[in-house]
Subunit: 430 residues, 2 copies
């Protein structure tokens, strides 16, 4: 019997399923791993893909009923919805004046001394009402969606008290329930040492381990730490991640962003799902991560946000067969963007990722970096029907047409959400 | 008597007039040169600014009639419309597959051998109907406008025969007449040596000088040359620009993009309005340009389009008091974007421009680079009412929030054009 379907997208000029090659996250992917289908189609029923292939194949397998909605993919590129596996999107207050200072050469310690940095956002977060945070979060999720992202990881870490960290995770759960985007929550109590614990890092680490982690159990999927020289060092990071594991939180790690202190090795040792940033990761760190199945999440947006020409050593990751994912790192300090497309531009042009690496990095490997590759990240029968239609016919168009948004329609859980194509010209043209 | 007004924008959180400091284009601008007004307002009548200042000042000078339209600037940043002084926007056919090759390390000569490069776009241009070119041009201008650009320079140079070059300029004139954006036409017959003149550069230069230039008189404001080793060298470029001057075309120059051959000095010698690219410009070239009043137009988008980490030496330009403008270089080969905002992000974060340099580079100095600073480029009484409202309250937000579009309303010649704020959520949220 033929499968019924609610939504059929057919005659897709270029369908990128991201499902080619062997299963699972891929290192050193090739073009064939993109799973490109010309004149492709996807059929969706009850929020899942039920047929994927050429238009002829799909149409032979499904039955179209009067209730079937169809979309034309003519002249369009279709991809899995972008998955953004590293963001700090739930915040209020922006810090563009710090960006202006950085561009003029003022360093982070001086910015922090002047009342800026993460602690400024912590003060704003604590002072904000739930409504203000929800409103800011909702607007930001709208923007992610408009740029084609259908799943967003979101970290706590601007509360830095037990109650405020719980509040961040509860609000993210509320946003997840009320917004089309799926929000995957990460507990990041160890994002920064809060002002009131200045000089008492050990006390704060004990608070995270003894009080916060037991209480955020069930509210977060992951436990993350900003592991960096002078912030949370290796021993402290290990203790926090181990405590998280005991309470069912999967480990993730901000590792080797500025200085190499063994963050890659620690990520591997604790079996982290991902280690993120990695601008200073060593050969040994890469090798250990590859052995442990830890995904490298690169965040090239920080080159813009921090105004520094420092880029990941992608060749080192390739040599060690380390799968790479990409993320925006959306946050008000070091990388304020909701666009995975611009991240792909920076990744390909400035870090040297190939197109297959970048496309899989924003879809399939990003899903793996959230432990969700069974349900999202590729366009395959049985997976959630999250996909995007772009005004392009080749996947390279995404990074190539940098700084603009080619996404025309976002399909989330099988429901199409359209963007307006052109500005609204009010009055006669002149 | 009080001035009547058609459009009043008031209570602007941050009005950047770009009109501070001394008159004219500026080198080494400071924050005060941005001319920031808090709680600002602008009044517009018959397409021109008639009052600019604080809301109180402006309201005391104008009379509001029932026909006056008002816009609130609360929580908004207002700037002069962006001016993009270097584009090749009139083309058909994209070249993303070449971008994918470049990312994998294939060089331009190999891409050209495989049928790519500028000549591919020349073939597509020649094969396209007027309607196809107008349609592509119109869509691209819509995109420029959506990203806040109100004046676009556009170059010919994909025709490379006398008739096709004239066609390019005629079509740009037609777009200028029918689209809100003002298109400033530049003749660039010397963009590349066409296939049919391979090995006969001298013959092609004579065609440009003897036949094309006399015939494009009146259709173009500027004459430009792609002056580069192996393409049009110094002697040939000088001859073409001199011929242009004899026919009333102001000189511009693609100079010192890859190799230093004296393009900066030539620009100064011929009195070019601008010299563009300049990644390899010498100290002497900068000094000569500064003396001759030639503006440096930087095109940092080529770092993305060409996938090369090569950036302008901004410090050298500062030392020589050279005014800097910014442009997208929008073209299907080396830089495909219509967004001046992303260019500002690249300019500030990767080339090290300060915020005042970047903002004036996209407005006031860009107007000067088109010889149009008398009528556009700043928000001043008597100038054309071209301005943009952005969802931000600080000019640094533009480069800081990279890869996304903060522009909400574009006012062109006094007429407001609104962008839609959010994606259209079809059906219930899930």
């Amino acid at each position: 019997m033929k499968e019924r379907c609610d939504l059929l997208i057919r005659n897709i000029a270029c369908l990128v399923t991201a499902a080619g090659g062997k299963r699972g996250p891929l290192s050193n992917p090739k073009w064939e791993d993109l799973g490109v289908v010309e004149n492709g189609a996807v059929a969706i029923r009850r929020g899942k893909f039920v047929a994927v292939g050429t238009t002829a194949e799909v149409e032979s397998r499904i039955s179209i009923t009067p209730k079937t909605k169809t979309l034309s993919g003519r002249g369009r590129l279709v991809l899995p919805g972008f998955i953004d596996p590293h963001t700090h999107f739930l915040f209020v207050g922006t810090r563009e004046e710090e960006y202006a200072m950085r561009v003029e050469g003022v360093d982070y310690l001086e910015i922090r001394r002047r009342g800026g940095g993460i602690r400024k956002t912590v003060r704003a977060f604590r002072a904000a009402s739930d409504e203000e945070l929800l409103d800011a979060g909702r607007r930001r999720l709208d923007s992610f969606l408009a740029y084609g992202t259908t799943t967003v990881e979101g970290k706590s870490g601007y509360g830095l008290t037990t109650e405020e960290e719980i509040r961040a995770l509860r609000l993210m759960a509320q946003l997840n329930d009320t917004h089309p985007i799926e929000v995957v929550p990460t507990f990041l109590g160890a994002h920064e040492i809060p002002e009131e614990y200045e000089g008492r890092t050990g006390d704060y680490v004990r608070l995270v381990i003894d009080e916060m982690i037991p209480r955020v159990r069930g509210l977060a999927r992951f436990c993350d730490v900003f592991c960096e020289k002078g912030v949370f060092e290796i021993e402290e990071s290990r203790a926090i991640l181990d405590a998280g594991k005991r309470h069912g939180l999967l480990p993730k790690l901000h590792a080797e962003e500025f200085v190499s202190i063994g963050g890659g090795e620690l990520a591997a040792e604790v079996g982290a799902v991902s280690a993120d940033h990695l601008l200073a990761v060593t050969e040994e760190g890469c090798a250990a991560m590859a052995r442990s199945g830890t995904i490298a999440i690169l965040l090239p947006g920080t080159a813009i946000g921090l105004a520094k020409r420092v880029f990941a050593d992608v060749e080192r990751m390739r040599r060690n067969a380390l799968p790479i994912a990409l993320a925006t790192d959306c946050n008000p300090g070091s990388s304020f963007t909701e666009s995975m497309s611009v991240v792909l531009s920076l990744a390909c042009s400035l870090e040297g990722l190939t197109l297959p690496e970048a496309i899989l990095g924003a879809t399939r490997n990003a899903a793996a970096a959230l432990g969700l590759l069974d349900s999202i990240g590729t366009i395959e029968v049985g997976k959630k029907a999250d996909c995007i239609l772009l005004r392009a016919t080749h996947p390279a168009a995404i990074p190539y047409r940098f700084g603009t948004n080619l996404v025309e329609t976002v399909v989330k859980n099988g429901l199409p959400i359209r963007r307006r194509r052109r500005p609204n010209l009010v009055g006669p043209t002149v």
